[in-house]
Amino acid sequence: MSDKKTVSLALSNVSHSYGTTSVLQTLNLQVKNGEVVVLVGPSGCGKTTILNLLSGHLQPSTGRVQRTGNIRTVYQHDGLFPWLTVEENIAMGLRSVSDTAQREKEKQDLVELIHLRGFENHYPHQLSGGMRQRVELARALAGQSDILLMDEPFSALDYQTRLRMRLELVRILEQRPRTVVFVTHDIEEAAQLADRVLVLSSRPATVCRELEILTPRPRDLTGSTVIETMKTILMELGLQH
């Protein structure tokens, strides 16, 4: 699990382009151990590209990606294998655990953690969107994972479910701390979840503002920290003056 590594994840001078379209320009990003970094930016600015570079699904055109530890990604939707049950999907994350009894216990714990007892044998298409995302989260947390990359994991959900899932994530990370890089276009989400928010410019993406938020989680949606942070992000994005 996430133990005393100093820097888990870093991009140094990374640029990336698809064909002639430059998506990222000399981007630098250092993620500290146990930190929750949220990337916000206009759609199409290259947020997902950053995650793909971090996870190794994509190699940068120039620059260096440094990562130590086991990385798992939580996707926006359809990340679960539809032919596996809730339990079997979660068990994917425990493949490296060789002890059967321990694996079984860990699986039960995770089902408990995401409050889906009784749904172990359901298939993803039999669950609601919020439940599916909880299963994905449990799968990503299972076993030897150190870093979670979250690619707009709640953006396919309705507003109220999204609010609830934020609280869930905070509660779950409380119990199982991980280093998190979270990509979203939802500034509320950023303000409620992040230790650090990076506001990205439109393509080619560069970091145009970095905000540290020291108030501990869970943070009240209408509390002053969240409101202030949202104001700052909105101004940075040119949506408020």
Partner: protein
């Protein structure tokens, strides 16, 4: 709740009743046409004559023998083409260049009626099970391989990303990610190509065999026994439907339901 249960049970009754009514209508029409002598008796047998020949064929054991012969040929040809066609499709689906190279040729053979192979089937395999099995194989291999191939080629890339995150590699990637993700489409392809096989077997047996349902029809024609031919036609249709119902059960497997429900 009670109301909805009531409607669903009466709907079920309708589901059975309506087709039975249509069947009764068709038989009635048949009786009327034969009764009015619209066609000469030798050209259109009466339902009674067909029933009688059904009894005859059944008691002589010939019908049973023909059913078994046909089922066996279809089964062998079909299993053969599935065991070769599905892996071929899996491989082609994963290799773009192989796909580009082979698809035109595969398509060519798919659109070539399997019956065109009859002269070759008889020259190469003479008379008996073999030419029929060969024709079934030629009829089903290409659609199965092509369907599997396009299913593999359109697997959402997210599954492979997830597979990479969770360390699925090599044979495990194939059996635990690629194959289950296309299984619903494979089942559909099996049903479609089984349908082709069942149609082709009748024609195949008319020329290359001394028994089987297709031969039964051919033999009845030669003896001007159209009552017997109709009896064989009914058996072919009913058996075809029955086996398709069996294959349809595959779609009820819990780990493929997702492919049909969303």
């Amino acid at each position: 709740m009670i109301n909805s249960k009531h409607t669903s049970s009466s709907q079920k009754k309708l589901q059975i009743l309506l087709p039975v009514l249509v069947l009764a209508g068709v038989i009635l029409l048949w009786i009327i046409i034969t009764y009015t002598n619209l066609f000469p008796a030798y050209a259109l047998p009466t339902p009674g004559a067909v029933l009688k020949s059904f009894k005859e064929e059944f008691e002589s054991g010939r019908l049973m023998n023909d059913i078994i012969a046909s089922l066996w040929r279809v089964a062998v040809g079909f299993v053969l083409s599935a065991t070769l066609g599905i892996p071929a499709g899996l491989w082609l689906g994963q290799h773009l260049y192989a796909r580009q190279a082979c698809v035109p040729m595969l398509n060519f053979f798919r659109f070539l009626s399997p019956l065109a192979w009859i002269p070759f089937a008889i020259l190469w395999f003479h008379i008996g099970d073999k030419p029929a099995v060969f024709l079934i194989f030629m009829a089903t291999f290409f659609p199965l391989a092509l369907a599997t191939m396009s299913a593999v080629a359109t697997i959402p890339s997210i599954y492979f990303k997830v597979a990479k995150d969770y360390n699925y590699k090599g044979i495990e990637l194939l059996t635990k990610v690629t194959f289950p993700s296309i299984l619903p489409q494979i089942i559909t392809a099996l049903r479609v190509s089984y349908g082709i096989a069942w149609v082709v077997i009748v024609a195949a047996e008319m020329v290359g065999c001394q028994d089987g349902l297709g031969y039964g029809i051919w033999d009845a024609r030669n003896g001007l026994r159209l009552d017997s031919a109709v009896c064989y036609m009914i058996v072919i249709g009913v058996l075809g439907m029955g086996i398709d119902r069996l294959l349809a059960q595959l779609t009820k497997l819990p780990n493929v339901r997702w492919g049909y429900e969303r």
